[in-house]
């Protein structure tokens, strides 16, 4: 994985930069020891590691502003980092960059029930937002599987989804406003407690921008009243096709469940070992459906889904009897990725989205690729919205398995695009899918996105090497003219 070439002149000034940063964030706010820096060398994607030049841990917006202003003035690159649970390498450090960790900014600033929103610092965990309002019967809907640990700031960067995003939307549908610090230290407030801000929807484009447009220092999120009741249904099928078919039938019946997830046999096994939720171990495919809302509605929907599932050939069917059972059923699914750690020392978690009805086709393709690359694969997916998570199992300590796993992953993503889907549904492009971007976008498409980046960060110092396969020099834009499909600036360093 090639990253931007480190700037030796910056590295040479490392000690001075550390000293100056300490003056800005306090002596315990900068990490510069080689041993210590190693702990920051990757996020949730551990296949690629790079110790940062330095780590800064600011405690508030003011400190973030000062750090960015300083780095901007001294041409030092910045890599933002939340909880480090991301799966696409978005927080992978650079050898000449300062990793700015937002974990110390972890306070809930305000809970506003009258306006049904919570204002939080970016280091608050996703579940922490819900915890703050749980006692009043509210919750924050987007629930990525890592919600116990992932930060709300990180959720904004990746436009995180989760099991319940089918019905309740992604992060972008649940964020009312952010405070953003631009690379030059300018602070802008996008949105707020009111809806539909004037002017361009910069909030909408910042969400999902993977730390390339600014550092989020405050988030205002919508909270919802917890549904009166929720039931989880667990249905086993003899094949992925029949399970996929069942999903289609449910949607066609006009039912939008709170969540709809599928797991295949290896994933079922791993999750069961961890959660002991009573997953059937003898089915090919497990469909988990959550129906939530007013009790009368849920009763009605549970019956209808049961009918549909049986008609679609479900071989086992369980309906949760109480909240504890429902939680257990979901705990297994939510821990599915890391639970794979019980089956295999390493795994690559892929993330692509396809039209729902193409599921059986793409799964078949994945099975074929698994045979070709001779690596196991476990499948977990958000069946409701076609977002796949094939988990490629490998052992980095063995020969070329990492390399094969990556090629396997890239082929899976190509299959997704071929099926009319996209490279990433919720984990972000990061470094993992960066080099596949040209398979989805034309040079002009990418160009247009670059220009947006330049509008926010003309210096290009914020999180370089992520999302886009070529490093752009914004100053060159003024002179650009379009030529159909030619590679622009062939002499620009590609890393």
């Amino acid at each position: 994985m090639r990253m931007p070439v480190p700037d030796p002149s910056v590295i040479a000034r490392r000690a001075e930069i550390a000293r100056n940063l300490r003056a800005l964030v306090g002596p315990d706010g900068v990490i510069d020891g080689a041993d210590a820096l190693r702990a920051y060398d990757c996020d949730g994607m551990s296949a690629y590691r790079q110790p940062p030049m330095l780590v800064a841990l600011p405690r508030g917006t003011g400190e973030v502003v000062r750090v960015l202003k300083y780095c901007h003035a001294h041409n030092v690159r910045i890599v933002p980092r939340g909880a480090g649970t991301g799966l696409s390498g978005g927080a992978l450090p650079l050898a000449d960059a300062v990793t700015v960790g937002l974990a110390r900014m972890n306070r809930i600033i305000e809970v506003d029930y009258a306006n049904r929103c919570v204002v939080a610092e970016p280091g608050v965990t996703n579940l922490g937002v819900t915890d703050a309002v749980r006692s009043a019967g509210f919750y924050y809907a987007p629930d990525p599987s890592s919600q116990i640990a992932c930060s709300i700031g990180g959720n904004v960067a990746e436009n995180s989804g989760g099991v319940h995003c089918l019905k309740y939307g992604l992060t972008v549908h649940n964020v009312l406003g952010v405070e953003l610090v631009l690379m030059d230290g300018e602070v802008v407030r996008l949105g707020g407690k009111h809806l539909d801000t004037p002017g361009l929807d910069l909030l909408g484009v910042v969400i999902g921008s993977e730390g390339l447009l600014g550092i989020v220092t405050q988030v205002t999120v919508r909270i919802l009243k917890a549904p009166e009741t929720a039931r989880a249904m667990m249905m086993g099928f003899a094949s992925n096709e029949s399970a996929g078919d069942c999903v289609g039938r449910i949607i066609s019946a006009g039912i939008i469940p709170g969540g709809m997830e599928m797991m295949d046999r290896p994933a079922i096994r791993a999750s069961e070992e961890y959660a002991h939720a009573g997953y059937p171990l003898d089915v090919e495919s497990l469909l988990l459906v959550e129906l939530d809302g007013p009790a009368v509605e849920v009763e009605h929907l549970v019956k209808r889904v049961e009918e549909i599932a049986r008609a679609a050939g479900a071989t086992t069917l369980t309906i949760s009897r109480d909240a504890a059972e429902r939680e257990r059923i979901w705990a297994g699914r939510k821990a599915a990725f890391p639970a794979i750690g019980r089956l295999s020392p390493d795994y690559l978690c892929m993330d692509g989205t396809i039209p729902r009805r193409k599921l059986p086709e793409v799964l078949a393709k994945i099975a074929e690729l698994s045979r070709r690359y001779n690596l196991g694969v476990a499948n977990v997916f958000h069946a409701g919205d076609g977002n796949l998570h094939p988990l490629i199992l490998f052992d980095a300590n063995v020969g070329d398995e990492l390399d094969r796993a990556e090629r396997f992953g890239a082929d899976i993503l190509r299959a997704c695009i071929a099926a009319g889907g996209v490279l990433t549904g919720e984990h972000g492009v990061g470094i993992e899918k960066r080099d596949l971007m040209p398979e989805m976008f034309s040079p002009l498409d990418l160009e247009q996105q670059h220009r947006l980046k330049c509008a926010f960060d003309p210096s290009g110092l914020l999180n370089p090497g992520k999302v886009f396969p070529t490093l752009h020099r914004c100053a060159d834009h003024g002179m650009m003219r379009v030529h159909k499909n030619e590679t622009r600036f062939p002499d620009l360093p590609r890393f």
């Binding site: 002017g199 007013p294 989805m440």
Partner: protein, 404 residues
């Protein structure tokens, strides 16, 4: 006489932008031409209404793609056949602006206009999955896709929504569609003053009965409704919309009435009357009847809605009503040279809120800041973003802000 270009296919749009020189007005069916800052006179026109037609519709996949110039009416009809709908419920401002119809899909997206259900179902910008268009350089580009879960690159679809055609001329749009609710019920509570009414709206939205929309009409607005029960009540009305599967909607409606029992006289509207009522709210029908009134649309934190409306009413002669649980304030006033802009903007809460001058004569809209003025840092950022799409300011120049 300004030149009008009306391309028949998407590829022709880029050609037009290359061929025509200078600034150009981008429009669909012109239904919202009078919305925003006025278009400079004499500009060439890029008429996209010829780019019409649904290109993809897969009900089980909850997705539809159409050319940007497709009339909303056509989209709605196709969806209704399969019992589906656009959940953001784009309004029909033909009554407000005297246009011929509700306009195009591209227009609804470009202006990010949504109905009362926005608070639960999301705005137009939450339903656009992808688009293709041409930027101010004449370059064709696309973003997004046809699936909901998509973080591949920057979400330019969000940026395009609500950009009033100043960043790109849309040629194709892909939207998320949803099943139509089986039944609709509206709970009405009569006779409340604004503050307690907003309290009722808040309580309902914070309940577990899944309220889809919440509005408050003072008496002088309620009495214009085509729904007898509302018009003849001789009182203000707070309205809560509940929708869904048959038994569920009925049950929740009853439950909500139970919760609100004692606040005021309550009534219930069934599906047909509910649709009429909410269409009136969505399309600002009460003010459309008065062709002269200047109309403001304010978005504020819901808890501030009643106060803001009251503060404006205290100083400007006019009528108002609230939507979005109090978060949307519509205010119609007898025309003033500055449309009362200073008063209106002065009552906005300090930490959040914006006022848009939705309707006024062109001259007034040229003078008064139609969209809420941006703080300097944000204005600068907006300018740079615009530059990235349209460096020569060719597309709908000045439609949103003087320098965008």
């Amino acid at each position: 006489m300004s030149e009008i270009f009306k391309p028949a296919r998407p590829a022709a749009v880029a050609e037009v932008l290359v061929q025509a020189k200078g600034a150009i007005e981008v429009r669909g069916r012109g239904s919202k031409r009078a919305l925003g800052r006025p278009v400079p006179e004499g500009l060439a026109v890029l008429d996209l209404s010829g780019l019409a037609g649904i290109t993809l519709y897969e009900p089980e996949e909850l997705v539809m793609s159409a050319r940007a110039g497709t009339p909303i009416a056509d989209v709605r009809a196709a969806l209704a056949e399969k019992n589906q709908e656009l959940a953001f419920d784009p309004p029909d401002y033909s009554g407000l602006f005297g246009g011929r119809d509700a306009g195009t899909l591209g227009g609804a997206i470009a202006c990010n206009l949504s109905g009362s259900r926005r608070i639960k179902s999301g705005a137009a910008r939450d339903h656009i999955l992808g688009f293709a268009g041409v930027n101010g350089r004449g370059e064709e580009f696309k973003s997004g896709g046809r699936v909901m879960k998509n973080v591949t690159g920057f979400d330019l679809s969000k940026l395009i929504a609500g950009s009033y055609g100043t960043l790109a001329a849309l040629t194709d749009v892909t939207v998320k569609v949803l099943p139509r609710p089986e039944k609709i019920r509206t709970v009405l509570v009569f006779g409340l003053a604004a503050d307690p009414a907003v309290g009722v709206l808040r309580e309902s939205l914070g309940s577990s009965h899944e309220v889809a929309a919440a509005a408050y009409l003072p008496q002088d607005v309620a009495q214009t409704s085509a729904v007898d029960l509302v018009a003849r009540a001789g009182a203000s009305v707070a309205a809560l919309r509940i929708e869904g599967h048959g038994p569920s909607a009925e049950y929740r409606c009853r439950a909500l009435k139970g919760v609100l029992d004692g606040r005021g006289a309550t009534e219930e509207l069934h599906t047909q009357k509910s649709e009429i009522f909410w269409r009136e709210v969505r399309d600002v029908a009460a003010f459309a009847a008065d062709p002269v009134a200047q109309i403001w649309r304010l978005s504020v934190p819901p808890a501030d809605g009643a106060r803001v409306a009251g503060a404006i009413a205290a100083r400007l002669k006019g009528r108002y009503f609230l939507d979005w649980g109090g978060g949307l304030v519509w205010f119609a006033l007898a025309p003033l040279p500055d449309a009362g802009a200073e008063v209106v903007r002065s009552v906005l809460p300090p930490d959040g809120g914006q006022a848009t001058l939705i309707r006024a004569e062109a001259g007034v809209r040229a003078r008064v800041a139609v969209f809420q003025p941006l703080p300097p840092a944000l204005a600068e950022l907006t300018r740079r973003v615009k530059e990235g799409f349209d460096p020569d300011r060719r597309l709908n120049p000045g439609r949103m802000f003087a320098d965008v």
